[in-house]
Symmetry: C2
Subunit: 475 residues, 2 copies
């Protein structure tokens, strides 16, 4: 059967307007923003309901057609883009945008998987609740993609990863069967927790079509401090102290190096240094509370006073206004962007146990400086989550292409050190195609074998998002 | 080969003293505290290390011998007791009691799975940290059992179930292979999250031998109020209000009915009513904070003032001392025990969406009263988790045995109502043997099929804890 014939049959199920076959129609689904994974597909399908997703997948399964589920197309590892082989159909969830139920008293919300993250946040706000997941791409990423990639973001310290925010899922399996696990229960010990398998599975086990999410009280007070520190060890001590005193009210703890700050001051329009002197490291610390009654400003002052006198901090500034809180965060959020102005940058999204961060940083910085003399490590990130974006800017004046040509070599070196700390080579962004072949080096053969068995249990023909996360066992 | 021959071979691996074969030696491992599941086994094996567990299971797998993993033997559903067929060997983790690592700065602890829960709590306290899991059986249950049953307890509202407290696991598979997933990472998106499958699997997929756990700041301030309410609807409104204002500082929200209070006052030595009048419902509300700086007493007063003026509460007493906090909790913890003095009690451990609790209670109470005229429903529990212990005391003066003979009939009725609210028939205690055959009524054939496929992927011969949670597919 030709693709044209398949398209006609599928159009009869979901409407001709939702079977996209021309290059112009398909383009937005085939281009990802870093242009790393050029996509090719015979067609993009846009089912509008769970029943339609089921019909479509039943058809594709019967005809041995491979498919790639796609949410907002913001993934960074190539899991959502059809491969250049051109034999993978895209199943886009972009028409599934229904908010199914909002329950402020029960602190839950149920939505279609195609709802854009920012809309989920806004729907929660409307009923005076918080959905805490927050990412750079929140205006376009969709909640199903967040779930399939177990997205992290800036609120993990207090609220957890996406996995921790999901109460239930509705999933269409590769066979087209619908698994209804869309429950809003806080406690349910009735067998294997299947939803956990789909979270972070990058669309390899099924298509998430609906999700029940946890909501939280909305924060009403926010305080932030910008702290100068003598060392990464001091940052760990400050974190330990702040968490002991503030507990869940400590909602942000971000580490930045001196060079990152220098890049920000040089390249971010209007950026100003919060502290008068320079320091080897900086921390942006944020407290927030849903209770008006908590004196979090005083608490922040008390933590800083104790840290300064113990030598865990050298200087600190507390934001005097909401605008100043934003200024602090702008420096942190600018860390990635400003590196572009300094030439090539080799990146790693890694995590290690929180208490190992200082040792890891010292070792990894020394190692890359030895490998690439003159290179400029700019490690920054979520210290409280053990998650460091270990980026390395090229030496001043060096050739950008020659520097970037050493990407894999540098990755090998850094991932080796991460592995020696029992860390993760992908803390936030997942595996996809980009890091798939690295998995075999950090996972045991037994663990990979178990993952393959699970894949086979859910997708016996290996048709859904094949070759992402795991190598294909057949070709 | 005879059992005696097997015992000799196994003794060569783990020492003769750790292969228990006499009735006296075996007895403590075969008797569970409610005497519901009389156990029979040829031997109890007590390996002392992960390597020994691996050796033992490799041997059992090679010889097609079935095994039952056992922690502290406190389970309530028969998952840890060898069946009367007498062909299941007990693998006890009671000698694996090593605390492997405590990391206060990283807020983690790694332990052998045989460490008693209370010791885990105490080890955390020694470094000024909290391990929040707290259960009635904490003096004898072991952390591996807590993990395998995804234990709940009294701290779920703020800290989550056991699942939420686990960062990594070490598991010996039914084949004897060791899966090393003992990581302390807060973020790790590198494939299917295998540990989630073992949590709550009731020992059917492997033997948990080690666990990396999350620690939290220790609470330093504690406040509690005992509240009288006009209805379950009011209790939900009070919960919603309290959570909005107190957020994670709201650490307890327990619902009790008037009759439960009457039972306590009649049967608990020295019990006193915290409120002068009687009320249809009561709530025990607790706030606790790791920060000395938070005025949680004032916050509690503010919440109560608002609730009283809105009609969500009729009267309230705030504990004036730590002793009075204990008195309040003693009433709550006495709820189960005092029912024994009132004759037979038919029990259910169920959950529904939090916001459905009032409707569920109204419907279920009316239904059981219609079925068993004169019966006395005593539903109580963790309202904030949607988890109600829906117990029903016999009519005054009725025959106990005749009442208890209707157990299954009443279960059917209540579970049917729970199911109509998309609730769970086992919120905390698991499935084991007790509720295994009920699963087929509340789970779809597809979900059961997926669970069987997962079981087969981890335990191809079906030798580990067979017939628990899932029916055996072969006999």
């Amino acid at each position: 059967m030709t693709w044209t014939a398949h398209a006609e049959r599928l159009a009869a199920m979901i409407g001709a307007a939702n079977v996209l076959t021309t290059p112009e129609q398909k383009a937005p689904y085939l281009t990802e923003w870093r242009d790393k994974f050029p996509g090719k597909t015979p067609m993009v399908l846009r089912p509008g309901t769970t029943a339609e997703v089921s019909q479509v997948l039943t058809y594709l399964y019967a005809h041995d057609i491979r498919s790639v589920p796609q949410g907002g197309n913001t993934g960074l590892v190539g899991a959502q883009i059809p491969r250049e082989s051109g034999d993978e159909v895209v199943v886009s969830l972009s028409r599934m945008t229904r908010v199914r139920d909002v329950d402020p008293d029960g602190y839950t919300m149920s939505v279609d998987s195609g709802v854009v993250l920012q809309q989920v946040q806004e729907e929660a706000e409307k009923v005076d609740r918080l959905f805490p997941l927050s990412l750079g791409s929140q205006g376009s990423c969709r909640i199903g993609g967040n779930i399939s990639s177990n997205a992290g973001g800036t609120a993990v310290l207090s609220y957890g990863n996406t996995r921790d925010l999901v109460l239930g899922l509705e999933v269409v399996l590769p066979t087209g069967e619908v698994w209804d696990g869309l429950r809003t229960l806080r406690k349910d010990n009735t067998g294997y927790d299947l939803k956990q398998l789909f979270i972070g599975a990058e669309g390899t086990l099924g298509v998430v079509t609906g999700a029940a999410l946890k909501l939280f009280p909305r924060p009403r007070k926010l305080e932030a401090a910008f702290v100068g520190l003598p060392s990464a060890e001091a940052a760990l001590k400050l974190f330990s102290l702040a968490r002991a005193q503030a507990g869940p009210v400590l909602t942000g703890f971000e580490l930045m190096p001196r060079i990152g700050m220098e890049f920000c001051l040089a390249h971010l329009p209007g950026a100003r240094a919060p502290l008068s002197a320079t320091h080897p490291w900086y921390v942006l610390m944020e407290l927030s509370s849903g209770s008006e009654a908590f004196p979090i400003h005083d608490l922040l002052e008390a933590i800083l006073t104790e840290a300064l006198s113990a030598g865990h901090a050298t200087d600190a500034a507390i934001a005097q206004s909401v605008a100043q809180v934003s200024d602090f965060w702008r420096l942190r959020h600018g860390m990635s962007e400003v590196q572009k102005k300094e030439g090539g940058s080799i990146k790693h999204d890694v995590s290690v146990p929180v208490a190992s961060i200082p040792a890891f940083l010292n070792e990894a910085i020394a190692a890359v400086e030895a490998l690439l003399p003159g290179c400029r490590p700019v490690p920054f990130g979520h210290l409280g989550d053990g998650n460091i974006h270990f980026n390395i800017s090229q030496p001043v004046g060096a050739d950008k292409e020659a520097f970037l040509a050493r990407w894999d070599e540098v990755n090998d070196l850094v991932h080796g050190i991460v592995h020696s700390y029992r860390g993760s080579i992908s803390a936030e962004h997942g595996i996809g195609i980009l890091k798939r072949d690295l998995l075999t080096r950090v996972k045991s053969p037994l663990e990979l074998e178990l993952m393959h068995r699970i894949k086979a249990a859910f997708d016996p023909k290996g048709l859904m998002n094949p070759g992402r996360l795991l190598r294909e066992t057949r070709s």
